[in-house]
């Protein structure tokens, strides 16, 4: 492809203070990766929103001075490649994740496909795996 920056396959990790001002970094990164994984504009924009929503959920639970970590993985680069994202943060003691029937979950599922929450001690992780539109 002329002018193409090429496809991506490596994991990309991003870490920033768990504050709203930094969320744009996650949104930008996921859009760039999704576009390079040959996603449609609809998918790129949905994934961008999903990243913002996931970060917002975790920031609401984050302890003081917590850092938010985002790991983006393009599973099979090129056509048919699946992009998955994992966001995690050190939660404030006692912070509960929203119930599974919450609107936030519906939004994430609609935007990014599958959603899973994992808790490891105080660390809460949100894994989003996207199904792609048929191209």
């Amino acid at each position: 492809m002329g002018g193409s920056v090429g496809s991506v396959s490596a994991d990309v990790t991003l870490r920033f203070p768990a504050q709203p001002a930094y969320v744009v970094l996650a949104r930008t990164a996921v859009a760039a990766l999704a576009a390079r994984a040959d996603r449609t504009l609809d998918e790129v924009e949905d994934l961008r929103l999903a990243a913002g929503e996931a970060c917002a959920l975790l920031i609401a639970m984050a302890g003081p001075d917590a850092e938010l970590e985002c790991v983006f993985t393009v599973d099979e680069p090129g056509a048919g490649g699946a992009l998955s994202m994992r966001f995690s943060v050190e939660a404030e003691p006692g912070a509960a994740e929203p119930p599974a029937d919450d609107f936030a979950w519906l939004v994430l599922r609609e935007l990014a496909g599958e959603v899973a929450v994992r808790r490891d001690g105080r660390r809460v992780a949100l894994a989003l795996g996207a199904q792609r539109e048929t191209v």
């Binding site: 949104r27 576009a35 449609t40 929103l49 913002g52 917002a56």
Partner: protein
């Protein structure tokens, strides 16, 4: 034109008739109970009959880097505000009253985006090109295009297309700081959107969600319902509402942020 003494020049017969018709509708609206069919009917008729005004005012801001249809949508929000706030008792012509409100809404749209000051000309042009090329390409492909496909169509690099998309995103983030108006229901539009009623029923089950949804401006509420309960894609929603997919994405981001209570409604 206004004379030195500030006396309006005589208007054309057509404009005088338009103004009289508007006044009659405002009187009908004032006489009916808010929310009643007569009230809604007069309100919709007022909005629809003044859409050409919103379009022509939006036209003044063409070629400034935002898609025309998005400006028309933003201008229409201003028009709706003007309809809801207009007091026919004051003896002012509605079109003269509405014009600054509509222009103000369009200017705020640019200000929210930080558009004029932040975005280099080249990026504005790319963004316009991307937004103009997307619907026809979508028609041809039967789905939303990829960045690579858009780049090939426009003779731009993928990097250029991405930059244009990211530029759009930067403004949606900025606009989180901006408050937004409280538009009431717009029945004429709602009726066009099949399947929304069932979507609303699904929401009825979620008591916690309804107040947050109800606080959203009408257009944002529609977009949230269509995307998350109506199973529409962003570009389908853009097509249905006559706005660009980029604008749908921005409004969705703004709606989700305000539902989270990220900024206080003004």
């Amino acid at each position: 034109m206004t004379s030195a003494a500030g006396i309006p020049a005589p208007r054309s017969a057509a404009s005088a008739e338009r103004s009289a018709r508007a006044l009659a509708l405002f009187q009908q609206m004032a006489a009916a109970a808010p929310g009643s069919p007569a009230h809604q009917q007069a309100r919709s008729a007022l909005i629809e009959s003044h859409l050409p005004l919103a379009r022509s005012l939006a036209g003044r801001f063409r070629d400034r880097g935002e898609p025309y249809e998005d400006l028309v949508q933003v201008g229409t929000e201003g028009l709706i505000k003007a309809v809801d706030r207009f007091d026919p008792e004051r003896g002012v012509d509605f079109a003269s009253y509405a014009t600054p409100t509509v222009i103000g809404e369009i200017k705020r749209h640019f200000r929210d985006r930080g558009w004029a000051i932040r975005v280099p000309r080249r990026l504005q042009e790319h963004r316009m090109a991307v937004s103009a090329a997307t619907p026809p390409l979508q028609q041809e492909l039967g789905r939303s295009p990829t960045v690579a496909e858009l780049a090939a169509r426009l003779g731009l690099t993928e990097e250029d297309v991405l930059e244009a998309l990211e530029a759009a995103d930067a403004y949606s983030t900025l606009s989180f700081d901006a408050g937004h108006g409280d538009d009431d229901a717009l029945p004429a539009l709602g009726a066009r959107l099949g399947g929304l009623d069932e979507s609303l029923e699904a929401v009825e089950q979620r008591e916690s969600l309804r107040p947050a949804l109800e606080r959203l401006p009408e257009r944002e509420r529609q977009i949230v319902l269509l995307r998350f309960y109506g199973n529409r894609t962003q570009s389908q929603i853009g097509e249905e509402l006559g706005i660009s997919q980029m604008h749908v994405s921005r409004l969705l981001a703004r709606a989700l942020a305000s539902m989270r209570g990220e900024f206080a409604d003004s």
